[in-house]
Amino acid sequence: MVPLSWYILLGVVLFVVGAAGVLLRRNILVVLMSLELLLNSVNINFIAFGHYHGDLRGRIFAIFVIAITAAEVAVALGILVALVRNKSTLKVDDVTMMKG
């Protein structure tokens, strides 16, 4: 039996890796992948807590998160395609025009 704290620790590590990826990486696709890590750390938390409480709510929440995140990524990739059509680059620094 794996104790609850291991799952929480895994969730924290994934969250930190995801957040660091969003902040530090300069490639837009890698940033989007890091976002997935960030949101999946939440799913691990929900399922682990749901199992701990013996409650279905956590699993239901995780399913909602998975579905909505898929929609979010679809929108993000659509926006990225529109952007690449205007300027073919995937570097965050090349995209930035507005400052201040």
């Binding site: 929480i8 969730g11 969250f15 995801g18 957040a19 969003v22 837009i28 940033v31 989007l32 976002l35 960030l38 949101l39 750390s41 939440v42 938390n45 929900f46 682990a48 807590f49 749901g50 701990y52 409480h53 409650d55 709510r57 956590g58 239901i60 929440f61 909602f64 998160v65 909505i68 929609a71 979010e72 929108v75 993000a76 659509g78 926006i79 990225l80 529109a82 952007l83 059509r85 205007n86 300027k87 995209v95 930035t96 025009m97 507005m98 201040g100």
Partner: protein, 479 residues
């Protein structure tokens, strides 16, 4: 679950059902409409919102919980829903001509606005962290797409990409907080959490969870430290969408924050100190950064950050008086912001972008009526009596002083004085400079109607503030 219960649940969420159904029908019908008939879509969209508003009004009499505690239709939600309806209808009226000029006058634009509206309505009525999350995502997914609607414009692409990435990070933080709350309490229902908590309000894990949730929500209202996206997104998005985003999603964010803060669990923790600090820093940053802006949309973005900071002060005051003052603030803010954006939208005509503030030099010489309306909105945003903006700030300050936060009230007044400077600077440009070009605003009848309605709201609430305050107060006490 019997048919009678199901009927009650459907009845409670009838306005949301109307909006979602209407949006889906418009999505299909919009493909069949011939070129040159696009105005039919606009009027159909307005009609959908009007029917939803009628349903909301008729069902406002009693509190209706629905969907096993996920959803509640109470007067608090009704007040916010009317702010959303107002913002959406005025955005529709503004969009017709602007969308033609920018080449975005297709039915999806209106459908996305309607779906975004339905997301905000769910947020206002949500009584569970799960339904808050679903409503929030429905709202922001539509606004991501609307921000990037000018597909061939690089600024619009960039704004949408920044918005979607930072929005997803804030969603992640919100969800992480929710998962911690679920782990600590074993429930996600807002009213079930207080009963289930075991560690007391000063439990560090609980405080961490609340901080994550607040951080995720604060992003949506554009407060420091999650404000960086706001100026870029406001500048890059189509101006009509900027007008919509600066009012409706902001009000929806406040609706959720207020509902979470009404919760005794959060009220008992010391989170208000963090919120007060956020309010001060937000207002200071918004006011000072706006001083150096030359782009009108960017200036209004910083102005909206400053206004969000002021509304947060009402949150700090707390209690029924503080919450009522925040609600009234958001209503007044909707009128004056949509008014000033109506002018900016209208100025976009031909090769004239209407985005640079020096372009407005000498507007008063050729269009005195329009210049006077701008003066009215800008004075209201600055908080000069007898406009509505003054009373919005006044009631927040009253609530603060009543609760003993005198120092905060003094800070708020001082920062408002800074903010007044950049509004008055625009008034000076309009009235004191000589025009260096002729103006040709796209003044269609629907834009005229928007200007008339927002001006009436700005003056009307300024003349009868007590009546509107009572409206907000009864909405708080209505449960």
């Amino acid at each position: 679950m019997s048919a009678a219960v199901l009927y009650q649940w459907v009845l409670a969420s009838l306005p949301e059902i109307v909006v979602v159904t209407g949006a889906c029908i418009l999505l299909i019908v919009g493909q069949l409409i011939r070129r040159g008939q696009e105005h039919l879509i606009v009027w159909a969209a307005v009609a959908v919102v009007m029917i939803a508003a009628l349903a909301t009004f008729l069902l406002a009499g009693e509190v209706r919980p629905a969907y096993s505690g996920m959803f509640i239709a109470d007067r608090f939600a009704v007040f916010f829903k009317f702010v959303f309806f107002l913002a959406t209808v005025l955005t529709f009226l503004l969009s017709r001509k602007y969308a033609d000029i920018e080449g975005i006058g297709i039915s999806e634009y209106y459908v996305l606005l309607l779906l975004s509206l339905s997301g905000m309505m769910i947020m206002a009525s949500a009584a569970d962290l799960l339904s808050i999350y679903v409503g929030l995502e429905l709202m922001v997914l539509c606004t991501y797409v609307l921000t990037g609607f000018l597909r061939r414009e690089r600024r619009s692409n960039e704004a949408a990409l920044k918005y979607v990435i930072l929005g997803a990070v804030s969603t992640g933080m919100f969800l992480y907080g929710v998962s911690l709350v679920y782990g600590l309490t074993g429930t996600t229902a807002l009213d079930g959490m207080a009963a289930a908590v075991t560690g007391g309000p000063r439990d560090p894990a609980l405080l961490l969870a609340v901080v994550f949730i607040v951080a995720g929500l604060v992003f949506k209202i554009g407060a420091v430290p999650f404000h960086m996206w706001l100026p870029d997104v406001y500048e890059g998005a189509p101006t009509t969408v900027t007008a919509f985003m600066s009012v409706a999603p902001k009000a929806a964010g406040f609706a959720v924050i207020l509902r979470v803060f009404l919760n005794p669990l959060v009220a008992a923790s010391d989170v208000w100190i963090i919120v007060a600090a956020i309010g001060v820093v937000t207002m200071a940053l918004g006011s000072f950064a706006a001083l150096v802006q030359d782009n009108f949309k960017r200036l209004l973005a910083y102005s909206s950050i400053a206004h969000a900071g002021f509304a947060i002060f009402g949150l700090v005051a707390g209690g029924p008086a503080g919450i009522a003052s925040v609600m009234l603030y958001l209503l007044i803010y909707a009128f004056m912001t949509l008014g000033i954006f109506a002018v900016v939208v209208m100025m976009r005509n031909g090769d004239f972008s209407g985005e640079a503030i020096p372009d407005y030099a000498g507007l008063a010489k050729s269009h005195p009526g329009l210049a006077f309306l701008m003066l009215l909105y800008l004075f209201s945003l600055a908080g000069i009596p007898p406009t509505a903006g003054f009373f919005a700030k006044f009631y927040v300050l009253v609530a603060l002083v009543e609760q003993g936060f005198v120092a905060l009230a003094v800070v708020a007044v001082l920062l408002s004085a800074v903010a007044a400077y950049f509004y008055i600077r625009i008034v000076m440009v309009i009235y004191m400079r000589d025009p260096d070009r002729s103006f040709d605003p796209a003044l269609t009848p629907s834009v005229r109607a928007t200007l008339a309605l927002t001006a009436a709201g700005t003056i009307g609430i300024g003349l009868f503030p007590a009546w509107f305050l009572r409206l907000a107060q009864t909405s708080v006490f209505g449960g």
